[in-house]
């Protein structure tokens, strides 16, 4: 068990920066998920913690030890790779026990540890098979088993579920969460899938262009995104972004989105937004905060009519799309209430959940 700390880590590939100075403190037993689009430096960061890549500058600590110059084998970490990286010529037992055998553990202890890990992962009946004879999900379990038997200070997961089909991915996601609850080891998990990040993490680290945009609990990054990138990356379907102008309207403020659409800012946000009056801003609102118009109108929400451009029934809900000044906007409504394409529909925007973004800095105000 150990904490991990990154201090101003930079990684250059030739002259191309992959990671541009990140600081991160991971506490003991914490489950941290690094998430971001491809090329954002999340895997490189993980590989630097593992020791598979050397940091160009900065310091990496595992426990209290500075590990920059410590080879992977002496860092006491275990890693699960995207394509499992199981040794094809070894049986499941040999794969799982390989690290222990190299460290010259006594045979009975190796057997005991492998059995224990196999029980956790429910693969006791596969120990004599070779990786070729296993399904994707089983291989994934073996790869995790190989990490668990070592009882390392830190688990590193590099997109471990990307090669599984959608159904299995959801199932394994739950399993990983369960396993972390059983084997409470500090975990760093890399994924490009924000759903995985939200469901697994104690804290989510959102990376973009080699930098950390935000670190926070899943709740925090969803409700209080720090930048437009985070706001757009977290949540599915993605947040609607519309250019707007903040104008004074009597005593209150209004967000003017187009000639026909202007939404009132809730009183609770007025103080925060007032300095921006008259400026061009970006208005952000998640699809789930644009609902069908019902009888009651909660405070802070505003109703409007929109002509539906596309209607996508999803079963438990229906996505409706309409156009505001050339920008497509998505709302998430009750299937029973959804209108037809080309028709006008009454929608309600929950403005307590709105965000205003400065278009120059892309920071959420």
């Amino acid at each position: 068990m150990a904490q991990v700390a990154l201090r101003n880590i930079v990684k250059m590939f030739d002259r191309t920066p992959a990671v541009q100075g990140i600081d991160l403190d991971i506490s003991d037993r914490e489950f941290i998920v690094l998430v971001g689009p491809s090329g954002c430096g999340k895997s490189t960061t993980l590989r630097m913690i593992a020791g598979l890549e050397e940091a160009t500058s900065g310091e990496i600590y595992i426990g209290d030890q500075l590990v920059n110059d410590v080879p992977p084998k002496d860092r006491d970490i275990a890693m699960v790779f995207q394509n499992y990286a199981l040794y094809p010529h070894m049986t499941v037992f040999e794969n799982m026990s390989f690290g222990l055998r190299l460290k010259k553990f006594p045979k009975p202890e190796i057997r005991e540890r492998v059995q224990a890990a196999a029980r956790i992962l429910d693969i006791t009946n596969l120990l004599d098979r070779r990786p070729k004879q296993l399904s994707g999900g089983q291989r994934q379990r073996v790869a995790m088993g190989r990490a668990i038997v070592r009882n390392p200070k830190v688990f590193l997961f590099d997109e471990p579920l990307s090669n599984l089909d959608a159904k299995l991915r959801v199932q394994m996601r739950t399993e990983i969460k369960k396993i972390h609850q059983t084997v409470t080891t500090t975990t760093v998990y890399v994924t490009h899938d924000q759903v995985e990040a939200m469901t697994l993490a104690d804290r989510v680290v959102i990376m973009n262009g080699g930098r950390i945009d935000q670190i926070g609990s899943p709740h925090e990054v969803y409700h209080k995104p720090r930048t437009q990138f985070v706001a757009g990356f977290i949540g599915s379907p993605t947040m609607n972004f519309l250019p707007c102008r903040l104008v004074e309207n009597g005593a209150g403020l209004t967000v003017r989105l187009s000639d026909w659409l202007a939404l009132p800012v809730p009183p609770s946000r007025e103080a925060r937004y007032r300095p921006r009056v008259g400026q061009e801003m970006i208005f952000g609102l998640r699809p789930e905060h644009i609902r069908e118009g019902r009888g009651d109108m909660p405070p802070g929400s505003a109703a409007f009519d929109a002509r539906l451009d596309v209607v996508e029934p999803m079963g438990m809900e229906t996505m409706v799309y309409f156009i505001v000044d050339g920008v497509e906007v998505c709302g998430r409504v009750d299937p029973a209430a959804a209108g037809n394409v080309g028709e006008s529909m009454r929608l309600v925007a929950d403005l307590n959940q709105m965000h205003l973004i400065d278009p120059r800095t892309e920071v959420v105000i």
């Binding site: 593992a50 992977p72 275990a78 890693m79 790779f81 040794y87 094809p88 010529h89 070779r130 070729k132």
Partner: protein, 309 residues
């Protein structure tokens, strides 16, 4: 392929008879007809000479009388024959082992070079294999020359006594093996390099995290992953080395006192210089059973692993 064959068998069984038209349209018939030119070439160039040499081996020296196993009985009684068997085995096995070891080590070095320089090195290291051995062996002959030997020149300057490279039987054996290793190692290198490239880098990374040092990575990851290529390359090279002719012929011509003869050179000496073609044919026939046994054992292992991998 298996179910194609199975279907072909079932059709005539059901209809009871087979029309010529159907027969001509069967996949296996077409496959056979297409392979026929190659089969004809193999028959002319391999099978016919093979049987002809068996026929020759059963004749007397003037090739006028059938003597059955007479030539073989004569060979078994001669010490030179057993010496040639011994030298051929020593030559082939030692050379193949060293070629494999040198090729394996060099392949690892080349594999770990940065990719820009790698092509250049790969090309240069292939040179000994690409030059016709008849030519490169002549260069070696010069290096080993009793009067002009470059090695001896260096030895003299270092104060080491000179060596009669090709005059002393033991050194002569050493020399023919050395030149064979020099010529053949690049082939192993290129085969092993190809095998190394097919070992996923992530396995090395996983092993590094599991605690393996560089030697353990080679021993537990590379070697088992390359085992099939290592064995097939060794078998192929064993056959070629066992049947080697040019290096021994040019470097020592079998001497001193027949000590460096291998099957091919001795057969040539007996048949052409000794004017006893049937005896030469008998000697050369001995290569076949020895190689067949080696091939059987090596390929059996390869097939067994092919199923499990």
């Amino acid at each position: 392929m298996a179910d194609v064959v199975a279907r072909d068998i079932r059709i005539p069984a059901r209809s009871g008879q087979l029309s010529l038209h159907k027969f001509a349209r069967r996949k296996s018939t077409i496959a056979f007809l297409m392979a026929l030119p190659l089969i004809a070439i193999i028959a002319c160039l391999v099978i016919y000479p093979a049987f002809y040499s068996i026929h020759l081996a059963s004749l007397n020296k003037s090739m006028t009388k059938f003597v059955g196993f007479g030539n073989f009985e004569f060979l078994f009684r001669r010490n030179t024959f057993w010496m040639v068997v011994e030298q051929s085995l020593l030559f082939a096995i030692t050379a193949v082992i060293f070629k494999a070891v040198v090729g394996f080590i060099v392949a690892h070095f080349v594999h770990n070079l940065p990719s820009q320089g790698q092509r250049k090195w790969r090309g240069m290291l292939l040179i000994p294999w690409v030059i016709p051995p008849a030519m490169s062996t002549l260069a070696w002959l010069w290096l080993f020359d009793p009067s002009y030997s470059a090695f001896n020149w260096v030895f003299t300057h270092l104060g080491i006594p000179q060596v009669a490279w090709l005059g002393n039987p033991y050194w002569a054996r050493f020399c023919v093996i050395l030149v064979n290793i020099w010529v053949g190692s690049p082939f192993f290198m290129i085969m092993y390099l190809a095998a190394l490239k097919s070992v996923p880098e992530q396995l090395h990374e996983a092993a590094a995290i599991d605690g393996a040092n560089w030697f353990q990575k080679i021993w537990y990851i590379n070697l088992p992953m390359m085992r099939n290529i290592i064995q097939i390359t060794a078998l192929f090279s064993l056959i070629v080395t066992f049947a080697n002719f040019d290096i021994v012929k040019i470097l020592t011509n079998g001497g001193p006192v027949d000590q460096t003869h291998v099957f091919a050179t001795w057969a040539f000496t007996l048949a052409i210089w000794g004017n006893d073609i049937p005896l030469g044919a008998s000697v050369s026939l001995f290569m076949a059973p020895i190689l067949a046994i080696a091939a059987f054992f090596i390929l059996r292992n390869v097939r067994r692993r092919g199923n499990e991998a």
